[in-house]
Symmetry: C2
Subunit: 226 residues, 2 copies
Amino acid sequence: MTGVPAVSGPVAGGTASHRIADALRAAILDGGYQPGERIRQEDVAARSGASRIPVREALRLLEAEGLVTLVANSGAWVARLTLAECAELYQIRERLEPLLLRASLPGLDGAALGRMADLAAAMESLAGDVDAFLRADREFHLASYAAAAPGETTQVIGRMWNRTQHYRREFTRLASRRASLDATHLEHRLLLDCLRRDDADDAERVLVMHIRRTRLELSGHPEIFG
Amino acid sequence: MTGVPAVSGPVAGGTASHRIADALRAAILDGGYQPGERIRQEDVAARSGASRIPVREALRLLEAEGLVTLVANSGAWVARLTLAECAELYQIRERLEPLLLRASLPGLDGAALGRMADLAAAMESLAGDVDAFLRADREFHLASYAAAAPGETTQVIGRMWNRTQHYRREFTRLASRRASLDATHLEHRLLLDCLRRDDADDAERVLVMHIRRTRLELSGHPEIFG
DNA sequence: TGCGCCGTCAATGTATCCAATCTAACGGCA
DNA sequence: TGCCGTTAGATTGGATACATTGACGGCGCA
């Protein structure tokens, strides 16, 4: 229940709906709920000590974020993606993340780049711990965008990361077993180099290739989406 | 209340929340509600013959779409954009719409291109009627994407169009008064030509320039965002 | 006269209760 | 024995009623 830096996280004020939505989101991202798993309103209500009304609003919120699928008069399930849907989210990322990176680049200072270097190094040594790798990878990329003014682009990209989180976990599990994250590590270093050189064009290119390669490798593992 | 081809339109099942959300969305897009205007839950409930519960869920939905701004314990307002926020949405469009156009291009047949040509011609003669122009422009561009499999990209782009609708209307009002939509018309013809030639790269380029020029012209009219 | 406190009111947030709908198990029938 | 209609249960959707929060205006005081 801890650890994932929630993108649309505990920002919103004290209303119960938001608290519940935050808790559910964290549970889904951490794998406490699996894709396809049913979410019963009363269960959530009981666990959060509230009535079903705020739970319903929380579910609506998560549906809008794409994390939950609601069917009228039937129920709520943790959203699952087909391979094609997941690939589409990655294509959106390929187009939008370079935009955000470009906006962030001028504001990235030495401290931010240092933190990113630490994370990149950590990922290379963390080959075994999938969840730690996921957290570091997420923080690495989000850190590269952190100097951009938060706005719609950040929101959209955050939703893409959240929606694909489970499949990234499964893929990383596979890849780490075969010790085949070398390309990832290399691209992270390349990206850092572009940022240090303040070269936005190169950074965009590297980032596009990084996301695209991941997408193509994901497409090679349709069994993840079974 | 009619006319706007709602992007996230009356798709969803019979639940009252969705009906109310559809009605509110249409009202906002048509200008029945102005940006910054307050939306009272009881008003909407009374008008739609339902209680406040489904109204609240509808408002949550529209908040997620970016059309409504909710403040806890305070109320709901029709979302308003600053010039910077609007420009950001246009930058997202610059990156994503070419992607969608490329996906749609192979499936565009003669009928679709013919319809687009009709709409382009209509826009050129419709110089006076702002709302008719807006409808035609929207249908023109959405038609160019219609052959792509509906997915997240379509959704995101639709939301961008919806959120900027009001400001496009105001801008068009200004531009049509000065008869300065010539560049728009020209770009529409160029785009159609690329599509007829089945040239995806050129089409992407023209579309990017089309959206970017609009963004820059919008930036020249900060008074719209007062 | 201007600032700040307090009371009233309106609008939202939440809980409880009832109705409508879907699911699944059961039994009848071919 | 397999299929289908029926019925009972569970679960969600919605309405009403109450609690809570925030806003506005009046009053007192400096």
